[in-house]
Symmetry: C2
Subunit: 213 residues, 2 copies
DNA sequence: GCCGGGGTCCACCGGTCGGTGGACCCCGTG
DNA sequence: CACGGGGTCCACCGACCGGTGGACCCCGGC
């Protein structure tokens, strides 16, 4: 099972046992790839990355406790030479952006075929950036319009709207007048390209700007 | 790799190669379980179920083309003795309800540990119902209040709201007066336990009542 | 210093929404 | 048949929301 001394050392971080087993199985057949560890959450991933100093970390985003983005940041802070490749089911704009900002060198989706996955791991080990086609497209269009990012205040107001609050309620929570809430909301509408509060929330959910707990 | 003649014959249906490999890997170690086929979408699952007549089908819900619910219905229509166990990441009330209505005898989540998964496959093969604890809880509370299910018209109106339409626009699309749209919406509010349109949409998305494409 | 831009704040209209009251139709039950 | 309940439909208020116009503050650049 173990590979040669110059094989690519891979750490797998995913909270689903099924997925971990799948990755191990898919990479296991390759003589030049060696899965040296498995983590079930972000904390474990950081710990194991410290112990094992792998070449590549295959990282899920949604994990209990410390999520993939946070784990990526902490791993790269301690080991800048490690290549983190995100491997997840989701591809919202915000997820992609956050992962890239955290320092991920790759972003793949779980419907990636076997051959593409092993090729991507090899490419990442060589320091190349590996992006799923749909992810690359989203990233480009995202970077192209940075003026659409919401300010902290706008996010607070939008979150209040998503919780079903009226403008007056949201204003009371944030200690601002109802009129001010509307102003923030109008800017949010403009940035998201919508013209009512309900659509603003659904679009924000689609793009991953808002979490849905 | 192949098991004894009285082994449980399992068909795996999932569009993620990683997940398929994981399931095969996890079940592969068990001498009394035999993965006899893999399908990458619903159509393939139906075809392979016809050819192989497995004892248990491990079925993902979100798949391109024919989804897991539709595949389950068609498989059970032709082979009522087959046990379909849903194995998915999501656990919205609507997903669970639709799967059970389609005839699934089990509903597991992908964070199920290895031992629980193999035990569940064996139990399903014996004809037992296997539900993840959180799924069981949701199913009970769902059945307990059937008065909360939305009528077709209410769903149409709610979908219009989710698309960001005004009451007048939705009324025009459905050929009813704006006032009528409001009435439907008020009933939706009551059933969902909310009191404004935005919260109605978010709650509906949470519960899986509305799709989010 | 001054100017400009981004972020945050607010007051005032007109249209829309949330809520009440009531009507019709269909279908199954007593 | 009569009755009742569920589903669909509609008209009318009061309150709220979407939009305009403008103010303040902070910070960086010329």
């Amino acid at each position: 099972m173990s590979a040669g001394p110059d094989a690519v050392r891979v750490l797998v971080a995913d909270d689903h046992p099924v997925v971990r087993a799948g990755i191990v199985g898919l990479l296991g057949g390759e003589p030049d790839l060696d899965v040296v560890g498995e983590a079930g959450d972000g904390e474990q991933a950081v710990t194991l990355a410290d112990e094992l100093t792998p070449d590549v970390v295959l990282m899920d985003l949604r994990m209990p406790g410390l999520d993939g983005t946070g784990a990526t940041q902490r791993i790269l802070a301690a080991h800048p030479e490690v290549r983190v490749v995100v491997l997840t089911t989701y591809e919202t704009d915000a997820d992609i952006l956050r992962a890239v900002e955290a320092g991920a060198t790759g972003y793949l989706l779980k419907d990636t075929p076997r051959d593409d996955l092993v090729a991507a791991v090899r490419a990442a080990a060589r320091g190349e950036t590996v992006l799923a086609p749909s992810v690359a497209r989203r990233l480009v269009t995202q970077v192209r319009r940075p003026d659409e990012r919401l300010t902290p205040r706008e996010l607070e107001v939008l979150a209040g709207v998503a919780r079903g609050g009226s403008n007056a309620q949201i204003g009371a929570e944030l200690f601002i007048a109802e009129a001010t809430v509307k102003t923030h909301l109008l800017r949010v509408f403009a940035k998201l390209g919508v013209d009512d509060r309900t659509r603003a929330v659904t679009v924000a959910l689609e793009r991953g700007i808002l979490r849905q707990p």
